[in-house]
């Protein structure tokens, strides 16, 4: 029985440029998983960007030093496929009856295809949105799971005018993504426009009922002496039977100094 809770998938990732990988996500996560950081695969930085992985592997120089950024090809010149990358990892998870598993991406820039054990799922575009996939039914019975993510850059990466300028040619503004990446008066253009799995990736084990996005609101009266805390949460019953639930809320003061709670 897997333990209830979240596990971050932040190690053991590999990456490869999409144009260097002949097979597709289904094969990568079934018959032909990459075995290690052998070309075209390299160790990947997740969470992070494509450029972060390339810098870590010294495929490109660190753009922060000197004029190194000028030596890194810009996405406008290379085309989007040059910075479209595969990210691959494996994870162990064995559920027992009535347990469910979610695969969560807290943010992807800019869109992606996810393959888990041969099953394909699409992560729609948008840099500032969470993606939550219920993968309970596609886990391997032996607990060993293969995950591949094909990450696409923003749809409108834009072109940097020779004279530079704030926000380059502003094309990036057509997408819902960070806008500084075409360069500003204080920063040179970011060559991959921050493409990548740039925030937390996790798997979360729950029982039949899942807690979603609680909202805490306090109201304060009588000169802040009389205070009320309202808590609202969404609940999802993933099982096929009525769930009789006990919902508990507990509020404890954070302990200060060397006070400990026995």
């Amino acid at each position: 029985m897997a333990e209830i809770g979240k596990i971050k998938l932040h190690s053991g990732w590999l990456a490869a440029r999409s144009t260097d990988v002949e097979i597709g996500g289904t094969q990568l996560t079934t018959t032909h998983p990459p075995t290690g950081p052998t070309s075209p695969w390299m160790e990947a930085v997740v969470p992070g960007t494509v450029l972060g992985t390339l810098v870590k592997n010294k495929v490109v120089p660190d753009p922060f030093y000197g004029l190194e950024n000028e030596t890194i090809i810009d996405i406008a010149d290379s085309g989007r496929e040059h910075y479209t990358f595969w990210f691959f990892t494996t994870f162990q998870c064995k559920l027992s009856g009535n347990q469910h598993l979610d695969l969560n991406f807290r943010a992807i820039n800019y869109s992606a295809e996810v393959y888990l054990n041969g099953h394909r799922m699409v992560l729609p575009r948008g840099m500032f949105r969470r993606h939550n996939l219920d993968v309970t039914d596609i886990l391997h019975p032996d607990g060993q799971n293969f995950l591949a993510v094909l990450v696409f850059p923003p749809d409108h990466p834009g072109t940097i005018p020779t004279e530079g300028g704030q926000g380059g040619d502003h094309e990036i503004g057509k997408d819902v993504a960070t806008q500084y990446v075409e360069g500003w008066d204080w920063i040179a253009p970011i060559r991959d426009r921050n493409t990548g799995i740039w925030d937390e990736v996790s798997i979360a084990v729950t029982g039949p009922v899942k807690i979603i996005d609680p909202h805490l609101v306090s109201t304060l009266f009588d000169d802040y002496k009389r205070v009320y805390l309202y808590a609202t949460t969404e609940l999802k019953n993933k099982s096929s039977w009525v769930a009789s639930c006990s919902l508990n809320i507990q509020v404890t003061a954070e302990l200060e100094g060397n006070i400990c709670l026995v």
Partner: protein, 237 residues
Amino acid sequence: EHLQTQHLSVPPGAHVQYTFPELFFYKPNLWWPNGMGKQSLYNVTITVDVEGYGESDSWSHHFGFRKIESHIDRATGGRLFKVNGEPIFIRGGNWILSDGLLRLSDTRYRTDIKFHADMNLNMIRCWGGGLAERPEFYHYCDIYGLLVWQEFWITGDVDGRGVPVSNPNGPLDHELFMLCARDTVKLLRNHASLALWVGGNEQIPPNDINMSLKNELKLHPDFMNANETENTMDNLS
């Protein structure tokens, strides 16, 4: 400690919303910005146990009791802030993001945010051309008492006021913008340090986006009447 248990049945496959009866606190420790008092935080834990199964899921979050108000001062045209009824002189810093390759670690955030607190600042403004900052950023702003002014993804230069003038109507997909905005609000809304959502930098978002943001970010009317008597509680609960 405050502990409350409620019983409810959730139909198969259903996705429901539930609000606990309010929890009452007498003179709780308040959360104050850097330089005005302690950043008292409580730990709120919500768990759900299912009959015949046991604990099914749990969630926890630091929470600070505070009231943050702000309005445009007619005399100066500037925005005046109050925290827990006390006016505060804002000593703020601009923030784009911590690293251009998004190497955003917990350690990095703690160092960056503590640095701002040590500089005696009490607000960080997250510029619209950067990121919707991450929960780790807000966690350390909660701890070190830095109020956060968080802008959505509109800048004057890129959306209608730059050279060349471009994207006067913002991004191509307004629904996508609002979907990202809603999800970002749900991700960050419980942080004590979150002081102000702002449509964009040096630019008002396109009217439909601006109106949606204003409407959806409005404080629930029942929470508006700050110093009503007990009966407010009744209709609230």
